[in-house]
Symmetry: C2
Subunit: 106 residues, 2 copies
Amino acid sequence: MDLIKNLQDYVGSRPEKFFKNTLFHSERLLLGLNCLEPGQVQTPHDHSDQDKFYYVVEGQGHFWLGDDQRVVGKGHVVLAPAGVAHGVKNEGSERLTLLVGIAPAP
Amino acid sequence: MDLIKNLQDYVGSRPEKFFKNTLFHSERLLLGLNCLEPGQVQTPHDHSDQDKFYYVVEGQGHFWLGDDQRVVGKGHVVLAPAGVAHGVKNEGSERLTLLVGIAPAP
């Protein structure tokens, strides 16, 4: 496995559902990309035993986080500790690219 | 704790040693920032039971990873699985800002 990766090589899209790609997967950590085209959504859900973060690489996302909702763009981190429901919708006009980590891996 | 953070609010510098800041800390995951001014270095080391990643937010780093060395810039991920020695030096002329995750937390 190449341990040094250019994120742009892992970006992609699917018409029917948001696109996922894996950068690293061990029992301790899952690190990957979620790419949402305009209008695509990741339905709110939670992980009872895993902490998760999103880092907005490009674009803008409408995030749900527990009872909170916020629209944030590039350069923001969204933290979803175990048990906190989280999801995101791309309401913008450009692709939303998210670096996503889950620990331990699901 | 605010679960949505703008990375730029957590960037900083120290003259004597590279700057660290914590974004999230649980037993499962430590997520933070490492900021290296030109010339600053994080000496190669390893974590025997933790997987680690760096994401280059801005600037360029000379990374050591096991027996490999590579200079990479913004948009790259460097993965250091448990036991793989890793370190980084800022040989450029601008600040190197790294989003860093370690799972489980040290």
